[in-house]
Symmetry: C2
Subunit: 375 residues, 2 copies
């Protein structure tokens, strides 16, 4: 029904320093990005996709030499797909501090000639948005048709709407929140403590020791993964199914869920950078646009100009529907035009990445509307 | 209003081997226990209290030389308290494999002359109940007025009702479940993996190395602790409160919830045994009395003779009210006499340990009924 696009990553190196929210600056940095579809003559059909914790610029399609390396949102984005790259020019960008090509803690710190490691500055959602805006400048995009993201990506989209209100016509925020709860922060800190207390972490400078804090990353991913799935979905997929016929009366694997989580943890720890994990969970924790307005989200969103699509999923207990409704209420108080859908889906937070007819149709219809507005 | 009892722990050593569910046996073992109140002449007023993960035989009162060491359920048990030791003879017993005085992995394995460590056999809820029944024999208690516990303690009480149906008149099961869910098991396995992958764990034989896998225990406790509190309670107690005036832009403590959890983790890792943690989480995972009845809980509870009190708490997401209702339905199908209360309380799973007027009154009224039946 839909074809798979062939894409190739590109990079741009920025030599002007980027001042960060912390007050620190990055002297020079590279962003890795990919584009899909064609920018129209009016440069009015660009859509920026912001990624979540462990994703990257590789949003859709495959690489010519890696036909199995499918972009993480390929079910959503591509020719004929809900975000149709026959009409839109889509950009995926890897965030600063990540580990998929943009400048991150594993790269050489020009000030020392060694990997940044623990010296890589803490970056925030707002810092990412500022860096993304510079990339938009380079690409000649004054205003996006939409900025879109799920989870942490949704935070970036929301942040775009307040930091650069005139630079996006639509803001698509999926399975996200205007701030983490104490419980969300708690889970992130468990993950961080697992990594930091792994002796192979070496205070963040493990590159010099040619080791990786795999055990810590593995535990971090396991606990994170639990929060991505719904209780019901886990019950249905795994329940109390055993790996063998009977209890093993030891501490190997008894239950399928243990096997699954350990596998996910092992896989993740083999490719993800530990410092990046720390940085990205901190960006999550710190995001709170209402903070400098005394907690008043309505005030925080008062300067937005975009139209909004918000989507939440009924069984998402990481960022529950109530968290999206909070944003919707604040936008409505500001008389913004908002579409909000609460999708009844069993898959918890991960639902935003999964195929679901109602969800896909909703996004398709919304982008068809955007396409019509442009025409 | 109520006085604090002075208690003293006692021990009994059993020299007859105990065969375990796994098929292994413990040749010889000691149980540490405490008693409160007086056993009446008919020996009909005894109540056994079963403890949860990190608790012990020290259920109520204080020690003469440790006036601050108050038993973990002292708000519930004592003279004039809901479970009134002026009427009942209450027994608290530390379970096999625990680390508060009963035989556990830190004790000498008579077969090797070294600490059991990883060689301590995996014990189940049913094994604990069998061991407790032997202690009841020693104390001359043929039938308990009640067996009572919360959480994992409730599993033991439920297990008593099927393993020794004639030995208890009442079974009090609080904030518990007839089996862990996949999500519950997943959290337990995160905790176990954190401990096992700590290099100081040494495959369970850390005693010989004079170290303790503190980092692993700390992370294990942090993740466990999150599941004991409700989302709302955490939001109310901690929210996004900062420890300092502003974000620190580092990986120390930013939020109060981080400080709290790390403190809880540190405290726990200083006193709890890592092998015990593994053993107890396995006992939790394995508990599933319906398993040998093809998952039919009604059949599993068909041989019970006791009357039941079940209590759940509205915001408990570890063992939600639905898990108690499942037990209630199975008991009613068996025409057992059941009292069930769902307490609207904000404190999540921990609510079973906390002061709550409706909860305390309910238990008080129930035990007053038991006392009247005896009279």
């Amino acid at each position: 029904m839909s074809s798979v696009a062939i894409v190739a990553p590109q990079t741009h190196t920025f030599s002007e320093p980027l001042t960060l929210q912390s007050g620190a600056a990055i002297a020079e940095y590279t962003l890795m990005y990919e584009t899909y579809g064609q920018l129209n003559a009016a440069k009015s059909n660009a859509v920026l996709i912001c990624h979540a914790l462990n994703a990257s610029h590789h949003v859709a399609g495959v690489y010519a030499d890696e036909p199995d390396n499918v972009g993480w949102w390929d079910n959503m984005i591509g020719p004929g797909k809900p975000l149709d790259t026959n009409h839109f020019f889509v950009i995926g960008v890897n965030n600063l501090g990540s580990c998929f090509g943009s400048t991150g803690p594993m790269h050489t710190n020009p000030a020392t000639g060694k990997p940044y490691g623990a010296d890589f500055p803490v970056v925030t959602v707002e810092d990412w948005v500022n860096a993304q805006a510079r990339l938009a400048d380079v690409l000649g995009i004054t205003q996006f048709a939409a900025v879109m993201g799920g989870s942490l990506g949704g935070m970036q989209a929301l942040s775009w709407s307040t930091l650069f209100p005139e630079r996006l016509r639509h803001c698509v925020v999926i399975a996200s929140t205007a701030k983490l709860s104490a419980q969300n922060i708690a889970f992130n800190d468990v993950a961080r403590q697992a990594i930091i207390s792994d002796p192979d972490f070496h205070g963040g400078d493990f590159y010099a020791h040619s080791v990786v804090p795999k055990s810590g990353l593995r535990v971090a991913r396991m606990v994170g993964h639990i929060t991505y799935l719904s209780n019901d979905d886990m019950a249905e997929k795994f329940g109390r199914d055993l790996k063998c016929d009977d209890y093993q009366f030891g501490f190997g694997v008894d239950f399928e869920i243990e096997s699954y989580l350990r596998y996910q943890g092992d896989k993740f720890s083999a490719y993800f950078d530990a410092n990046t994990y720390l940085l990205i969970t901190k960006a999550l924790d710190y995001f709170d646009p209402a903070r400098r307005f005394g907690g008043d989200l309505t005030q925080a969103l008062a300067n937005t100009q975009a139209q909004f699509l918000l989507v939440s999923f009924s069984t998402d207990w990481r960022f529950s529907p109530e968290r999206s409704r909070e944003i919707v209420r604040a936008l409505i108080s500001n008389k913004r035009r908002v579409t909000y859908a609460e999708i009844d889906a069993p898959h918890g937070h991960d639902a935003f990445l999964l195929e679901d007819a109602r969800y896909m149709n909703l996004v398709r219809t919304y982008f068809e509307r955007i396409a019509k507005e442009q025409a």
